[in-house]
Amino acid sequence: MSIEADAVRHLAEAQVSVELETEDMTLNIGPQHPSTHGVLRLVARVDGERAYDVKPVIGYMHRGYEKLSEVRTYPQITALINRIDWVSGYANEIPFVVAAEKLMEIEVPERAQYIRLILTEMARISSHLMFLAAYPLELGAGTPLFFALRERERVLDLIEGVTGGRFHPNFNRIGGVKPAAGSGSTSRKVAQDLPAGFLDGTRFAMDKVLSVCDDIENLVAGNEIILARTKGIGIIPKEIIAAYGVSGPTMRASGIPFDLRKVENYLPYDRFDFDVPVGETGDSWDRWWVRFEETRQAAMIVQQAIDGIPPSGPLQAKVPKVIKVPKGETYVRAENPKGEMGYYLISDGGQGPYRLKIRSSSFSNISILPWILEGALVPDIIAIMGSLDFVLGDVDR
């Protein structure tokens, strides 16, 4: 009897002390995935729902911009580079033409600078509205997508009315903006100045953008579920930002109040009054909020610029027909909607650059992914990636 009792007791203890052995799973998130903003591939070792050791694999969209720039002329490159960050088309052309103008030592006329500024801020509004649309969709809410895209269409239609293209405007020229279509000597030359109705259309569109910002605020900003999904998720401290070179709204959300629009003078931002929103903790909620406020500020900048634009003036400085940039090298950086974008231009006096190095913001922004996704849950991976707001064209160039 006692032997049986002993045996039963041993058996019971043996059952309790068996350990559960689990294996972790290698999950490939992407490159074809609804939420990776392009063809980003994350190789994640996942244990249950928690991911360890996330490695991004990039390069699926490498198009060879820097090599391509070596064999193209300056006007051709201006047509190509607005495709780097295709969401904010116009903003990609600006640092490049400013770099070439710096080497040629040309001064851009004032009306052209105002037009450049208006279109750049519209590109910023367009890019941030796309973020405000897509980020709640990744979290599961389907409706802010349509609200934000509805107003984004207005802005894109305005850009199209001026430049002819919604995403790829190709409106910058070295020395200003596009002066005339057809540079021949016939009488059919058409000036490419602002079309009739642009100023009133812009005022209307900016009012609508501000009102949809209020709508999105009511729909998203107070929503407890969104707050639960984004507050405290993916906190990036200031030292990590500095270490990895993260820039743009992600940097400002972590509490670093640095905005290139206030520091550099590639466009006349110092004439306008706008705030730079700075976050506090650096979690995903702050990143959303910084971009949301930036949309409002950009709409206000456009309103001020519309009121202050000089009524007439040349659209391009006097430049020779065939543009040859003198020898030299320069680096110009600008505040793109996604972050800091810089062009390092080395010219040897020819019709095209000798070397164009593109410092794209999203490439540095996603370099923190292995650090920040360590130990994150799988749904949080999606929330964090969405809040970094990168575009693969910008990453891979």
């Binding site: 047509a79 430049t163 000597s185 016939t186 059919r188 009739a196 709508d215 009511n218």
Partner: protein, 161 residues
Amino acid sequence: MARAIPGGGLVKGLGVTITTFFKTVFMPGKYLATINYPVEKETPVPRARGVIALDQDACTVCMLCARQCPDWCIYIEGHKEELPPATPGGRIKVRSKLDRFDIDYALCMYCGICVEVCPFDALFWTPEYEYSEPKMGAMLHDMDRLQGWLETVPDPPGLEK
């Protein structure tokens, strides 16, 4: 820990959705954001870059557009013709005549450099966009088709102030 009790934020969100619902149902003229393509079509702005039209008479086969195109999608062939002199004993005029002018819209990136550099204003933008084809080879528009697009070139929009 989720603050999972439905609070004011959730109710506000519900309010936004339901007001949009009623606005779209009862006042579609003002609040409906989409149009029913292909029954209704939006007119694009005059400067929209839809397709490129060619004015054959103005072209002098200078090849500037083909050279400046970043994608090399313009194929031009021409030959020189001699015209008799206007007055007897005068100079023989040599004029270039266009044999082939094709734009391959499968390669074209709609940048507009060709339109801009043409010294004789032979190329124009038109906002036509409905020319998609089932076969990619049919996206090569030849000379006559490009001439046909010329009718759709809109008048340039008036300028501000």
